[in-house]
């Protein structure tokens, strides 16, 4: 990429004419594109594809849980031999469905689809760069993700079915094909796919970090960066530090599976045979997995928090409350996320003393999270709130972040976790705090930056309908699961008919209700898809700065070309949150407006922002 230095003016101008004037072929423009905006759209579309698959899978297993007697023979053209002769979902298929649902949603949708889309799209536009530091690596990042997607997709159809040991793939279950049929070919492909995925994530993350550090435009100091960029930066750092550990965990698992090593295996008698593996530790895998797994939770949620910080400030027409506190809490969460992993393992058999240490560390991380929630609410106070669909989804995110974060106080306290561990309470907790909240961040981002992505507006009314049904639906799906969890119902159960005598009846109605809500909520997402795809071609033309926003991506043309700004890159003169500044006639002052032009609204401490 020739455009690497943008911080000095003369060089910027040298490039100006270069960027607009060459027609690209279809392949370089849409397929092997090195333009960050196109790559972002590729990530988004692939993410949407995976979200449909992941959502459809959840509808299938919710049918099993909510309507256990339903005859699904009518679905056999689609899911074929996944059904038992009675027309019910096979128990191993059920396990495969929950495994793939988790894998797809966590990695392919909420990591690649969310971070991949918005880090790629917003970093260069919001820091004032013509593209990523390395357009080529960026392209590779997408195509490794694409390869990984293909492998994962193929794994759904192989003999024996896809991986079925839960998305956490704990060995020995995932290491021994004798233990469950999904641990055969399906698991091999899962591991290959994840290895490719990690390569993709690393290429992307290194690029994001480099770009944010090196390619900020003149005047864009670190503390003038929008919170989105801070969130993407910390997310990328987390990814770089933690994904390699997952790779090593996966490699050792591959060795155990295929080359007879005993990293995780010891003293196993299965399928009428005592295996020769000795001296391995099944717990080791859990440590390695969660060393990624926990930061991964924040890799999923931080970009959403960044996106909503931006949207809540813009749509409240107010500066984000406590900008620096927000930055520090992002960093605090990032650092702490590396030292809390074993709270997933309180009852794994590890030393109880470790449990004590991780309880303390885990509950400390609640403090910066609480600060973020309070700051969001303080931003709303005395604002002038415009409920665009993006703003509604952002408020929905804050609601989820609070209600799901609070249940973390139960699970993070080791002694309370003893009884709640691996029950539906956990399912409720993380589906609200990281599933729904992150998804809402994703939706908010799409609604908010759609005009910049496609030069057109999405339909608002459909956006409102989409929001309300999804918001209410998500609460109806996940809130009841708390009760089922408190009652001690284990997760990953195919059915509760064999569960403790006398409690079979307890939650049949509630489960049916949850399944019903889940399927409706899933169905409503097609409304969003219709709105999304139809608006790409037929939406109303977007104005240049539809939300009256301060950040500099809105100073680009409605549909920015390769290089983003046709002329020089604007110089950044102020922080991004000068909304409703006293004295100013308009309620927003874009970042590229110099202080010298706004004497009426300048404040004594402006220079420190």
């Amino acid at each position: 990429m020739e455009i690497t230095k943008t911080s000095t003016k003369p060089k910027v101008q040298e490039h100006d004419h270069h960027d607009d004037h060459h027609e690209q072929s279809f392949i370089t423009k849409y397929i092997f594109s090195e333009d960050h905006k196109m790559i972002a759209k590729q990530f988004l579309i692939t993410g949407i594809f995976w979200a449909i698959i992941g959502g459809a899978m959840s509808s299938l297993f919710r049918i099993q849980l909510g309507f256990p007697d339903m005859d699904l023979t009518a679905l056999s053209p689609i899911i074929g031999n996944w059904l038992t002769p009675q027309g019910k979902i096979d128990p191993e298929v059920y396990l495969a469905l929950i495994t793939m649902h988790g894998t797809i949603m966590v990695f392919f949708v909420l990591t690649a689809g969310l971070s991949g889309t918005f880090s790629n799209f917003l970093i260069p536009l919001q820091i004032g760069a013509r593209d990523m530091a390395s357009g080529f690596l960026n392209m590779l990042s997408y195509w490794f993700f694409f390869l990984s997607s293909i492998v994962m997709f193929i794994s759904i159809f192989v003999e024996g079915g896809p991986a079925s040991g839960g998305w956490t793939i704990y060995p020995p279950l995932s290491a021994l094909p004798q233990a469950v049929s999904g641990s055969g070919m399906g698991m091999t492909l899962w591991l290959v796919s994840m290895a490719l995925f990690i390569v993709s994530a690393l290429l992307g993350a290194l690029n994001y970090i480099t770009t944010v550090i090196n390619l900020r435009t003149e005047g864009m100091t670190f503390f003038r960066m929008p919170l989105t960029i801070w969130a993407f930066l910390v997310t990328a750092i987390l990814g770089v530090l933690s994904f390699p550990v997952l790779l090593s965990a996966a490699l050792l698992l591959i060795m155990d599976r295929s080359f007879g090593t005993s990293f995780y295996l010891s003293d196993i008698y299965i399928a009428g045979e005592a295996l020769s593996n000795q001296g391995g530790s099944a717990i080791l895998f859990q440590h390695l997995f969660w060393f990624l797994g926990h930061p991964e939770v924040y890799i999923v949620i931080l970009p959403s928090l960044g996106i909503t910080s931006e949207i809540i400030a813009t749509c409240s027409r107010k500066p984000i409350f406590g900008y620096r506190a927000m930055v520090y809490s992002i960093f605090g969460i990032g650092v702490l996320s590396f030292v809390v992993w074993a709270h997933h393992m309180f009852i794994s058999g590890m030393n109880p003393f470790l449990g004590s240490v991780f309880t303390i560390l885990t509950l400390i991380i609640a403090v910066p999270s609480a600060v973020k929630a309070f700051n969001y609410i303080a931003t709303l106070w005395r604002g002038n709130i415009v409920f665009t669909p993006a703003m509604l989804f952002s408020i929905g995110l804050v609601s989820f972040f609070i209600s799901g974060g609070l249940t973390g106080l139960f699970l993070g306290n080791s002694v309370v976790d003893i009884n709640l561990h691996d029950t539906y309470f956990v399912v409720a907790h993380f589906h609200i705090v990281m599933g729904s909240a992150s998804f809402f961040g994703l939706f908010a981002g799409v609604y908010h930056w759609f005009p910049k992505m496609f030069g057109r507006m999405m339909n608002r009314t459909l956006g409102y309908v989409h929001f309300w049904v999804t918001f209410i639906g998500a609460y109806l799906v996940f809130f009841p699961l708390h009760y089922i969890g408190i009652a001690g119902f284990p997760r990953r159960y195919y059915s509760f008919t064999n569960f403790e005598t006398g409690r079979i009846e307890s939650f049949i109605d509630l489960n049916t209700f949850v399944s019903f809500a889940a399927i409706i909520t899933f169905a409503v997402q097609f409304l969003f898809l219709f709105n999304f795809f139809y608006s790409i071609y037929r939406g109303r033309r977007a104005p240049k700065n539809p939300w009256n926003s301060n950040t500099i991506e809105w100073t680009t043309p409605v549909e920015p070309g390769h290089g983003n700004w046709p002329g020089a890159i604007p110089k950044v003169e102020r922080w991004p949150y000068d909304y409703s500044k006293p004295g100013s006639e308009k309620d927003f002052i874009p970042q590229d407006v110099p202080l010298s032009k706004t004497p009426e609204s300048n404040m004594p401490d402006d220079s420190s922002r």
């Binding site: 009852i347 609070i402 409102y464 939650f507």
Partner: protein
């Protein structure tokens, strides 16, 4: 049936499309730019937020109250009430925060919805306020953690010396249990000795294994500490006793343990729940394969005298399987000596 579903789908698609086109055309006709902030929907959304919140609160309160018996399990171990007390105090704290923050948020949404004549209040920071809402959660958390850790150490600490020791072995897809017998000592076991009959791999060259017995159901005495020595044969399982508020994973290659003091007998629980078929059960709570959902084992809690009586009636494993034992001694005496080296 399929036809009806198909028609419903088509109809809803048509409705969506109509909404889309009509609102688009309407906004074009009004020459309204999408960004126009003066939008009747703005107020509607703000009101909907408040309505949603109050309806949700009402439903949550009603369900939590009405269904309490259904989701709150009776407590049947000595530490259960202590854990539950911390659980419900945490619940009180979090539920209050939940209610207060959601009310404030949706109220702000309504109170400060967009009005053209008003300008938002430029309020970028307030250090005092931020310090307050950093320090208060920190203090509350320290309290919850401190309390939790004391209880955690008690529950996970070493079992009392007089505890009844029982070995629990998980395998796809059932549990086995082994009692030490009159000598109060579990004999050695080795996974390489496992076969169809000797399912936990008891090593009969160890004399303390000779009186070990393996009942069909686990019996434990009320009011005495019980220590489970937990093993897994193939994949990870989890010994979960919801009524005891006790849980511990069973890990192949790494013995684990948990202990508790039962406080209610099965008979007492049958009376309390009004269910004459009630049984305590160990349920597997770690995904372990096809029949994970049906992997369970009955646990009978009885008065101590009943327990002692039951124990004395049990025949040792070798007494029940004399032929196996004879063969074992013939074939394995030398092999096992090397195995145990």
């Amino acid at each position: 049936m399929n036809l009806i579903i198909g028609i419903i789908l088509l109809l809803s698609l048509a409705v969506v499309f109509l909404i889309f086109r009509s609102t688009e055309i309407l906004s074009v006709a009004k020459k309204k730019i999408e960004t126009s902030f003066e939008d009747s929907n703005n107020t509607n959304n703000a009101i909907l937020g408040v309505v949603f919140m109050f309806v949700s609160f009402a439903v949550i309160f009603w369900y939590s109250y009405d269904q309490f018996e259904n989701y709150f399990l009776p407590m049947a171990s000595k530490h259960a009430p202590e854990v539950e007390l911390l659980f419900w105090v945490t619940m009180a704290v979090t539920f209050t925060v939940f209610i207060v923050t959601q009310i404030i948020m949706f109220y702000f949404g309504y109170r400060y919805r967009y009005k053209k004549e008003r300008k938002a209040y430029f309020y970028p920071e307030n250090h005092k306020l931020e310090i307050v809402w950093t320090v208060i959660p920190a203090i509350v958390l320290v309290g919850l953690i401190g309390w939790g850790l004391v209880k955690w150490n008690n529950i996970m600490g070493p079992a009392p010396k007089d505890a009844e020791v029982i070995e629990i072995v998980g395998y796809q897809f059932a549990w086995a249990s082994r009692y030490p017998g009159p000598d109060n000592e579990l004999g050695n076991a080795n996974y390489k000795l496992i076969d169809v009959e000797n399912i936990v791999g008891i090593d009969f060259t160890d004399s303390s294994s000779l009186d070990d017995f393996m009942p069909r159901e686990i019996h434990i005495p009320k009011g005495k500490p019980v220590l489970f020595k937990i093993k897994a044969r193939d994949v990870i399982h989890s010994v979960y006793l919801p009524y005891m508020r006790s849980q511990m994973n069973a890990v192949p290659g790494m013995p684990t343990q948990m202990w508790f003091i039962p406080t209610k007998t099965t008979a007492e629980m049958r009376e309390e729940t009004g269910n004459e078929n009630f049984n305590f059960e160990i349920v597997c709570n770690k995904i372990c394969g096809r029949a994970h959902f049906s992997m369970k084992h009955t646990v009978i809690v009885e008065e101590e005298w009943e327990y002692i009586k039951w124990k004395n009636e049990q025949k040792s494993w070798i007494e029940k399987n004399p032929d196996y034992y004879a063969d074992f001694i013939k074939n394995n005496s030398t092999d096992v000596a090397t195995l145990n080296d």
